[in-house]
């Protein structure tokens, strides 16, 4: 394999519900002209409010949702224009774990069968297969769990089974859609610890969709912030959170409830909600909610451009201003 990026998304758009004779409304522009790169071994967090297009973006990345425009390459494979055989190879190198583990694990199979299924589907030679015990051990489950059905597992345990299934193929990329949704804080932290440790051991990149900003500095090297189908800011995670260059990122950070009663906020960091992706606002899509928007923001679409350093980008006409307002 070449030394290039693991994932390259180039001007990718994903639209749903194209107008028809029965529904003349404009399509839902869930993802709009997104460029996105993941380097081998890199850990990326994808954040944004519900409706920002995070899940659609990662599904398009793996070819699970059809791209309306643009190209996607994962591990050297053109995801949307390849043969079935090539796509199967792609599924070996790029695996996904879903939000609800109970919905993604067949209720009729025991854990043992669930764990060996990927090996069977991909016809992995026996000498390259991991044993059920090795897989359970990898995700810190005991051997007794092998004979259980998914409904007998707790939320955290079911998630561990999903992780073991995904990693049994030794993928180069793991896509995790809200892997800790619905878990208690402590159980969620344990899952994030596990995913990060395994990615280090297996030299595997991951893209994690999350709306918990409190864990991203731990879980990710890089963060990409989405708003209404576009990436509005990306860069090294700590730099971005400590000095956001986009007012939306700033608002997300400010909205986090501090677990400290002596630091109560009375102001509202961000009023309103994400508008409909059928009729996105003109110019900068964030301008109707933006506290600092000027006339230019309603007319001119801001492009994702380098700011501060070569590895940071923001799509805002006023980035310089946003950065100046903050203590360094």
């Amino acid at each position: 394999m070449t030394g290039g990026p693991l994932v390259t998304m180039d001007a990718v758009s994903t639209h749903f519900n194209a107008p028809s004779m029965f529904d003349r409304r404009p399509p839902v522009r869930a993802v709009e002209a997104v460029d996105f790169v993941v380097e081998p071994g890199e850990r990326v967090a994808l954040v944004g409010e519900s409706g920002s297009g995070k899940t659609t973006l990662v599904r398009t990345m793996l070819g699970l949702t059809h791209a309306s425009a643009g190209t996607v390459h994962v591990a050297g494979v053109n995801v949307h224009e390849s043969s079935r055989r090539t796509r199967r190879r792609l599924r070996r190198s790029a695996q996904m774990i879903y939000q609800d583990p109970h919905a993604s694990l067949s209720p009729r199979h025991r854990v043992r069968a669930l764990l060996t299924e990927p090996h069977r589907i991909h016809r992995i030679p026996a000498e390259q297969q991991w044993s059920v015990e090795e897989l359970l051990d990898m995700v810190e489950l005991t051997d007794e769990q092998a004979d259980k059905f998914p409904h007998e597992l707790s939320g955290g345990q079911a998630r561990r089974v999903s992780i073991a299934r995904a990693l049994s193929l030794r993928p180069k990329l793991l896509v995790a859609d809200e892997p800790t949704a619905g878990l208690d804080v402590s159980a969620a932290s344990a899952i994030l610890n596990l995913i990060k440790r395994l990615s280090q051991q297996m030299d595997m990149a991951y893209v994690m969709v999350t709306h918990n900003l409190n864990t991203v500095t731990f879980a990710a090297d890089r963060i990409a912030v989405m708003y209404l189908g576009t990436i509005v800011e990306n860069g090294p995670v700590r730099d971005v959170l400590e000095r956001p260059a986009h007012p939306y990122t700033q608002a997300l950070v400010d909205a986090l409830p501090e677990p400290d009663p002596t630091q109560r906020r009375d102001d509202l960091p961000l009023p309103g909600e994400v508008p409909s992706a059928r009729r996105p606002p003109s110019g900068c899509r964030f301008h109707p909610r933006c506290p600092i928007a000027v006339d230019r923001c309603t007319d001119e679409v801001p492009l994702l451009t380098p700011i501060v350093s070569a590895d940071r980008h923001a799509a805002c006409h006023l980035s310089e201003h946003v950065l100046e307002e903050q203590p360094t």
Binding site: S50, N212, N214, T215, T217, P259, D266
Partner: protein, 340 residues
């Protein structure tokens, strides 16, 4: 001192699952004063939602209150008949749930349901047009865009955040003396969560509504509540004012919860976790329920159940704070190694 809006004493509740009884609540005492916001915090399975539902006798099938007393607005809830209970729900106490979809009827418009809730509890026969104006006003108040249209919408046409705000609009219209909010922001984005927390605070400030705020998120509890009660395995393990509880947590479980609350500002190779899992509710351990996971546990902790004792200005259910306990006798003082 004014009498509390909510007074719970010695409450016990069980669920029948299959053939076994699970004790979900274990002698819970809790008071909420008028205008007070009290947080109830714990991990899943600690009984916090059972407690919230028990107050208005809304336990799911199989759930049963076996002992104790609940007083809402000076009315003994457990002794009322259906009609008296109906009168308590609404103006006396209202409840909002984690998933507002299940508490709205999918067959009727949001405006109709809000209007119905008000008219069925209004003592004076308010006119329909007045009701409509009130409903639209409440929807506007909670920040729903285009409130006239939202009033005509069915619940499925609104987003999760909008539905949650519809439930709060209902609370605004009913102006209950007590609002029970069971994880109202858990399914929402942080931006919406901030909006909901602010609305709850306004409800208290403007109408004097007391709020019981059930949550597992120590962040929103710190932002909203005056007092906090921590629950573990169906028991109250600590209660204190919000400032003291966060500054000087007395129970080892509270300390562990606070240490495990992640914040992006913290650096580190690992996120802090609480080792082990909550105990089984069918066969709880004999002593302190938290002892198997507690880093300060000693042999004596497994012997008998500790009682609530004064600690750090509040109360905590832990032998560390009981000076008379054998925990403090030197012969026992070797801390037991807790297996991870």
């Amino acid at each position: 001192m004014t009498s509390p809006v909510l007074d719970i004493a010695g409450l016990e509740a069980t669920y029948r699952v299959g053939g076994t009884e699970r004790r979900a609540l274990h002698g819970v005492d809790l008071q909420v004063a008028p205008r007070e916001i009290v947080g109830v915090v714990g991990e899943s399975g600690c009984g916090k939602s059972t407690l919230a539902s028990a107050i208005l006798r809304l336990l799911p099938p199989g759930g049963r209150i076996t002992r104790g007393r609940i007083t809402v607005d000076n009315q003994p809830v457990l002794e009322l008949d259906t009609e008296q209970m109906r009168r308590i729900r609404g103006p006396g106490a209202a409840m909002i749930f984690q998933d507002p979809f299940t508490s709205l009827n999918p067959a009727f418009t949001v405006g109709y349901q809000l209007g119905l809730a008000c008219s069925s509890h209004a003592s004076d026969g308010a006119s329909t047009s007045q009701l409509q104006a009130d409903v639209v006003g409440a929807l506007h108040r909670v920040g729903i865009p285009d409130p006239e249209r939202a009033a005509q919408a069915h619940p499925h046409q609104l987003s999760g955040g909008q539905r949650q705000r519809v439930m709060i609009a209902m609370a605004l219209l009913l102006r209950p003396r007590l609002l029970i909010a069971d994880e109202p922001t858990s399914a929402l984005d942080v931006t919406l969560e901030a909006q909901i927390l602010r609305l709850l605070r306004e409800l208290r400030d403007e109408h004097g509504t007391a709020i019981l705020f059930v949550s597992h998120d120590l962040g929103s509890v710190a932002q909203l509540c005056d007092r906090v009660t921590i629950m573990y395995a169906g028991r109250v393990v600590e209660s204190n004012g919000v400032g003291s509880l966060y500054a000087t947590p007395a129970h080892p479980y509270t300390r562990a919860l606070l240490a495990a609350a992640p914040t992006w500002r913290r650096d580190g190779d690992e996120l802090a976790t609480i080792p082990g899992r909550p105990p089984s509710l069918t066969a709880p351990p004999p002593g302190c329920a938290f002892a198997p996971r507690c880093r300060d546990a000693r042999q004596v902790c497994e012997a008998g159940e500790p009682s609530l004792v004064p600690a750090a200005g509040g109360t905590a259910r832990c032998l560390i704070h009981d000076p008379a306990s054998a925990y403090h006798r030197s012969s026992e003082a070797s801390a037991r190694e807790v297996p991870r």
